[in-house]
Amino acid sequence: MEKHDKASWPYVKRKQRGTPVLGMEVVGPLRQAQPETLIPIDTGYEGFLLLGEDRYTELGLNLAELPRRYWPEAETVTGEVFRLRRALAMVQIPKAGIELEGYIDTFRGNTEDLVGLTLLDTLKLLLEGPKQLTCLL
């Protein structure tokens, strides 16, 4: 970690390529303790945090859901449009002592956990490509 960084995480190999990640804990309504999880950053996803359906259920996010009227539509890069399921939760970045509030999305068939642009809007990040590190400044 560089001197001016609050925290940093090595890229994670996905499909033979290093992918920038952030280490975080999602605090749902059940408030159960869980270890820090490394979640890939996806600047193509406009939301806050996308979780796989199974993880969404494990965290008890069905106990903090938005009314169905407020579930947003999502559009994939191929133009498919469908309804997201959405809940409110707190996200902690333990290494940096940061706690954020935001919307957690999932959808039927989703297996990916992704950090989106809305969460990134709150952070100062440096992607240090040569060292394969995501640094929180």
Binding site: L30, G44, L63, R69, T76, R108, G109
Partner: protein
């Protein structure tokens, strides 16, 4: 094998779009039907039990909540309003008594969300 009938104008429009999308081949309509059904299955979740009751309760009190408590966090469980809170930290913790709860910031409305290339969708299983 599913057999069904559609209104004539809808069937014609569907066949026309299927041919445009998949070509003038024998399987074009079947392919288009499969895509349409997959999309429909993914589009929405069917509310059940407490979830349905909570959403009905929300709809019945939405206007009043928006006029009386804008910007506050509301919790609906067991088909009724539990309380409104100043912060999410206060509203979030839940006991195990409920199978579903609504927690939301009153008056906040969602925008359409674009998903990136990394989002992958596994084939749909039984619902």
């Amino acid at each position: 094998m599913i057999k069904a009938s559609l209104p004539k104008d809808l069937e014609e429009a569907f066949r026309r779009r299927a041919m445009e999308r998949y070509g003038f081949s024998k399987g074009a309509v079947s392919k288009a039907l499969e895509a349409a059904v997959s999309l429909w299955l993914r589009y929405d979740y069917e509310p059940q039990g407490e979830e349905e009751a909570n959403n009905k309760a929300f709809e019945s009190m939405r206007t009043e909540l928006e006029s009386r408590h804008p910007g506050m966090y509301a919790v609906i469980a067991g088909g009724q309003l539990v309380s409104v809170y100043r912060s999410l930290a206060e509203a979030l913790p839940a006991g195990v008594r409920h199978s579903h709860r609504l927690v939301f910031k009153i008056g906040e409305r969602p925008a359409k969300v674009r998903l990136g290339w990394r989002s992958t969708i596994k084939p749909l299983g039984p619902t």
